[in-house]
Structures are given as structure tokens and as C-alpha cells.
């Protein structure tokens, strides 16, 4: 029915979202071009925050963090979904257990994995040296070349179940006719995965990947709780840099300038992605 009553119903939520989301975004823009006295200073904050080498390093770390996380989250998530779409006894149990990482609070996941990654007493070094993968225990969280991969592993563990649930829901809505048609054409199960399942789940995988990009760009908890961006900035991603600028260095205006740049990048990602989704929908697959 056509009436403005709908807007009236939606209004309280919209007002709250506006006050606590739209307003802060505009306010960040204002902070980014002023100093701590509120005087306009042009682009001074931007140049101050862009000049140090650490900003570039944080950007690269962020790229590695997001890309590395997503590749494994999607691959493991889709594989798990295909497994859970099988009919076997105990499936319901496996399905519930598979959600555990996702339910565990981020900070708990971080501390538990930090304990498991412990150089001397950690179970991971013990298991890996035990089966001969590693010749000797390594300092996962203190070595520059292992610390970011370790963080990525925790992030993958935390979120691949989410991908699995979403893809599983999509797999279960595929009509049986499609499988029958594929089998008439002589496809075996791997053929069905390739020619029926993967094309059918593509829209969901695209949508979920967008969410994962956003969450990856947002993620602070795991890294901040374990390393705070260290050692030697090896795990410093841009959100953590913003956070530390604001709340440890108390440079609100520089933090705001970096936020604006970060926000712009995120919006470009979102925009490109939405366009991509729209184009694909237009192909009429």
C-alpha cells in the first residue's frame, strides 16, 4: 500500500542511524581539516599522516591481511559447505561444531590462539615438531616473517564458518533438475560441483566476499589484542594505525585525516563491488 506511514515506522531507526553514523562521518571530515583548537589548517593533517614510512607499511600490511584472509576463508568455506551439503550420519553435529569459531568472542579467540602459538609451552609448536613439520619450535608471534601469517590463520579460523553457512544455504536452494540435467549429460560428482554448484553459488560468494573485505578492513580485535601492531609494525594494519593515533598518541585530527582516506578507499571497494554485482546480474546467467 502506498502511504507515508511506512516512513513513520522507519523514522526512529533512521534518525538514530543518522545521528550516530552519518553525523560522525561528516564530523570526521571536519576534524581532518582542522587542528585541535578547531582552526582550519587545510591539508596539513593529511600530509602529516601520509609522510611517515609507517603509513605505507600499514597499507601493505592491510592488503596482505585482507587478501590472505579472504582467499583461505572463501576456499575453506566453500569446501566445508560442499561437505556439509552431503547426506551422512552425524552431519547435524558436524554442522554445529563447525560454527564454534564464529561464536567464540574475538578476544577469546585471540588469547586462546596466543597461548597455542606460545613459543615454549604452545601446543602448536609441540604438535608440529612432534610430526616433523618443524625441526624446532619457532616464535610465531615474535618473528617478523611469521607473525602476520599467524594472525591471518586466526582470522581464517574465525570466519570461514560464516562463509560455509552462507554457501550451504545457497547450495540447498539449487533445484534438483539442474543436477539431473548435468547427470543426463554424463557429469560425475566433480562435474556437478564445477558445472552446477559453483555457478549457482557465485552470487552468494560474491556478496559474502564483499562482507569479508569490509570485515577484514575493520578487524582490529585479533591483531590489537595479540601484538598491538608489532613486532616492528609487522602487523600494523591501517585501522590499528588510526586507533593508535587517536587513543595512544591522542592526535585526533591526524587520526581523522587517515580515517577520511581509509573511508574513501572502503567506499571505492564497496562501489566497485556493487557495480560488479549489478553487471553480473545483467548477464542473465
Amino acid at each position: 500500500m502506498r502511504s507515508n506511514a511506512g516512513l513513520v515506522f522507519a523514522l526512529p531507526a533512521l534518525v538514530v542511524l543518522f545521528m550516530l553514523i552519518a553525523y560522525p562521518v561528516v564530523y570526521t571530515g571536519w576534524l581532518s581539516v582542522t587542528d585541535d583548537q578547531g582552526n582550519l589548517v587545510g591539508l596539513k593533517n593529511f600530509s602529516a599522516v601520509l609522510r611517515p614510512r609507517v603509513t605505507t607499511q600499514a597499507l601493505w600490511n592491510t592488503l596482505w591481511w585482507v587478501a590472505g584472509s579472504i582467499v583461505f576463508q572463501v576456499l575453506l568455506g566453500v569446501a566445508t559447505a560442499i561437505l556439509l551439503n552431503q547426506n551422512f550420519p552425524g552431519r547435524a553435529l558436524v554442522r554445529s561444531v563447525a560454527l564454534v569459531p564464529w561464536i567464540i568472542p574475538g578476544i577469546v579467540a585471540a588469547t586462546t590462539w596466543a597461548w597455542m602459538f606460545h613459543t615454549e609451552f604452545g601446543i602448536i609448536n609441540y604438535m608440529m615438531t612432534g610430526v616433523g613439520i618443524l625441526p624446532e619450535p619457532i616464535g610465531w608471534l615474535t618473528r617478523g616473517d611469521t607473525v602476520l601469517p599467524a594472525m591471518i590463520a586466526i582470522n581464517v579460523w574465525k570466519l570461514f564458518p560464516f562463509v560455509a553457512i552462507m554457501v550451504l544455504a545457497a547450495l540447498q536452494s539449487i533445484p534438483n533438475d539442474l543436477y539431473e540435467a548435468a547427470r543426463m549429460d554424463g557429469a560425475n560428482y566433480w562435474g556437478e560441483i564445477r558445472h552446477v554448484m559453483l555457478p549457482q553459488i557465485r552470487p552468494v560468494v560474491t556478496a559474502v566476499t564483499l562482507l569479508l573485505v569490509i570485515w577484514g578492513l575493520n578487524a582490529i580485535t585479533i591483531i590489537y589484542a595479540i601484538t598491538r601492531g608489532g613486532p616492528a609494525n609487522r602487523t600494523l594494519i591501517t585501522p590499528i594505525q588510526i586507533f593508535r593515533l587517536a587513543f595512544e598518541a591522542v592526535e585526533f585530527n591526524q587520526a581523522a585525516a587517515l580515517s577520511v582516506l581509509f573511508f574513501a578507499v572502503v567506499m571505492v571497494v564497496v562501489f566497485v563491488y556493487i557495480r560488479l554485482l549489478a553487471d553480473r546480474a545483467g548477464e542473465g546467467t
Binding site: V108, L217, I220, F263
Partner: protein
């Protein structure tokens, strides 16, 4: 089309073959469950046994000493209470706002509807790092830093966007004929919402409740910035304090982790079916 993926609709053909299914299942169960199990095992070990090389798979003398430490000699119980107050408050408020907004979006056509709905979605995609500074300053101006209300408001807006989307798709799935019949009988829009729409969408409402509660209960970064006084600190902050001390007491940290995880895991187990159905509907359709 139903918004909930049905168990019965799944395929019945064995495709991957038993060895692969068995191996895959074992792998999934081990990878997902092991850290949680190890948390539990570590939490009942004596201090001496935690720092043993090689690590023991099972404690020789299981003990509740770590739990005693957490429950009687730390601030964790207070933080637990704070977490409950804040989670319940923000979940309740988010649910009420989301019910009205979703009803508006699902059952009416109005000017700018698509635009307003996209605004809600953008709210879901905004990066935390980009809004945390101005949000902090806003809360400071309003005098809401270090208050329950401050965190309740912040968490309400974090969970609101997805809650609105989840509920909108649930409300749309309810046959509109039921409401039309009530309109003919002269019922008001509010009456229809409370007497017809809400009872029929109880699973969706449960899903939103669980989603909002878990998100709030688990949140770390906003709490870290907006609650620096122990009278309002939440559990995640308490846990981080335990483990950032110079000498980490890993046994106590693991016990505190269990205290924080078990309630949320139970809540999830009880409502799992609704939660998963509602979330997939909200995040992939809309």
C-alpha cells in the same frame, strides 16, 4: 520462497564418497573444536603443569583453582554483570527500533524507500576505524563516556542495520492476505503489527535477538575506547587486562575465557536453527 533453508530440501545423493566425507568431517571437527577444548583443558591445569614441556594432553590433577581466582579474586564478576546489562539493554532497544523499521520497509511503499533502505545497508558497511574517533568525541560531549548508556547506544547502532534487513525479509515472507483481512476488519496498523506480524515472525525475532546479543557480548574495540572505568568495563576488556599484564597467568586467562564463552555458546546452541536461518536470509537476500 521460504526465507529459511530447510533441512529436508538438501540432497540425498552420496557424492564425495565415504573416505573423503569421513576425512573432511574429522578435519572440520578438529580444526573448529580443538582451540575451545584446549582452552578448557588449560583452564583446569595447575600452574606448574601449564608450563611443562612437552605439554600434557590431559591434566594430572585437574583443579578449579583458576576459576576460583577468576570468580573470587578478580573484577570478572563485575564485568560479567556489566556485559549483561549492556547487552540486554542494547539488544532490546535495537530490536524495538528494527521491528518498526522493518515493518515500514516490508509492508509499505513510500517515497524514497529504496534510498532509505540503502542508507541502512551502508550503515552496515561503514568501517569502525573511520567512525570511532568522532563517535568518541560525540559521546564525550554528551557525557556518555564511561556510562552504560554510552555503550548501549553504540552497540544499538552497530547491530541495527543487519537487524532491520533480517526482519524486513522475514516480514515480507508472511502472506500479506492475513493482514489485508485484518484491515478489512478495521484493525489499526499497530494492532496488525502486534497481533499478526510479530507472532508469525517469532523465529526471525529470535534470530535478531541472538545476533544482536552475541555481537554486543563479544565486542572489544568500542568497549576499549568508551569504557575505561571498571564500573562499566565489559568482559572482553577484563579478559584483555588479564592477558596484557607483564606476567600472563595463562590458567586464569583460559578460565576467564571459558566464563565468557560458555553462556554465549549455550544461547547459540538453544537458538541455533533460528539464528542461522535468519542470518542467511538477512545477509544474502533483502
Amino acid at each position: 520462497m521460504s526465507a529459511i533453508p530447510s533441512e529436508a530440501g538438501s540432497l540425498t545423493r552420496p557424492g564425495l564418497g565415504w573416505p573423503l566425507i569421513l576425512l573432511g568431517s574429522a578435519l572440520v571437527v578438529f580444526v573448529c573444536l580443538f582451540p575451545f577444548v584446549w582452552m578448557g583443558v588449560s583452564s583446569i591445569k595447575e600452574l606448574r603443569e601449564l608450563y611443562t614441556i612437552p605439554p600434557h594432553w590431559w591434566p594430572e590433577n585437574p583443579t578449579l583453582a583458576n576459576y576460583e581466582k577468576v570468580i573470587f579474586q578478580s573484577n570478572i564478576p563485575r564485568y560479567f554483570l556489566n556485559s549483561i546489562i549492556i547487552s540486554v539493554g542494547s539488544t532490546g532497544l535495537a530490536l524495538i527500533l528494527a521491528i518498526f523499521a522493518a515493518n515500514g520497509f516490508a509492508r509499505f511503499r513510500f517515497r524514497g524507500q529504496a534510498f532509505w533502505q540503502s542508507c541502512v545497508l551502508v550503515g552496515q558497511l561503514l568501517p569502525t576505524a573511520a567512525i570511532i574517533v568522532p563517535l568518541f568525541i560525540t559521546l564525550r560531549v554528551l557525557g556518555l563516556v564511561n556510562t552504560y548508556w554510552g555503550l548501549i547506544m553504540v552497540y544499538m547502532i552497530i547491530t541495527l542495520p543487519l537487524s532491520v534487513w533480517m526482519l524486513t525479509s522475514y516480514f515480507r515472507a508472511i502472506p500479506i492476505e492475513l493482514e489485508e483481512a485484518a484491515i478489512v476488519d478495521g484493525a489499526s496498523r499497530l494492532r496488525i503489527l502486534f497481533a499478526i506480524t510479530l507472532p508469525l515472525s517469532l523465529p526471525g525475532i529470535m534470530a535478531v535477538l541472538v545476533y544482536a546479543f552475541i555481537t554486543t557480548w563479544n565486542e572489544f574495540i568500542f568497549a576499549l575506547c568508551f569504557a575505561t572505568d571498571s564500573s562499566v568495563k565489559t568482559l572482553p576488556i577484563g579478559l584483555a587486562e588479564f592477558s596484557t599484564e607483564f606476567n600472563t597467568d595463562w590458567g586464569a586467562v583460559m578460565a576467564a575465557s571459558m566464563v565468557m564463552t560458555v553462556p554465549i555458546a549455550l544461547l547459540f546452541l538453544i537458538f541455533q536453527k533460528h539464528f542461522v536461518g535468519g542470518l542467511t536470509a538477512g545477509a544474502t537476500k533483502g
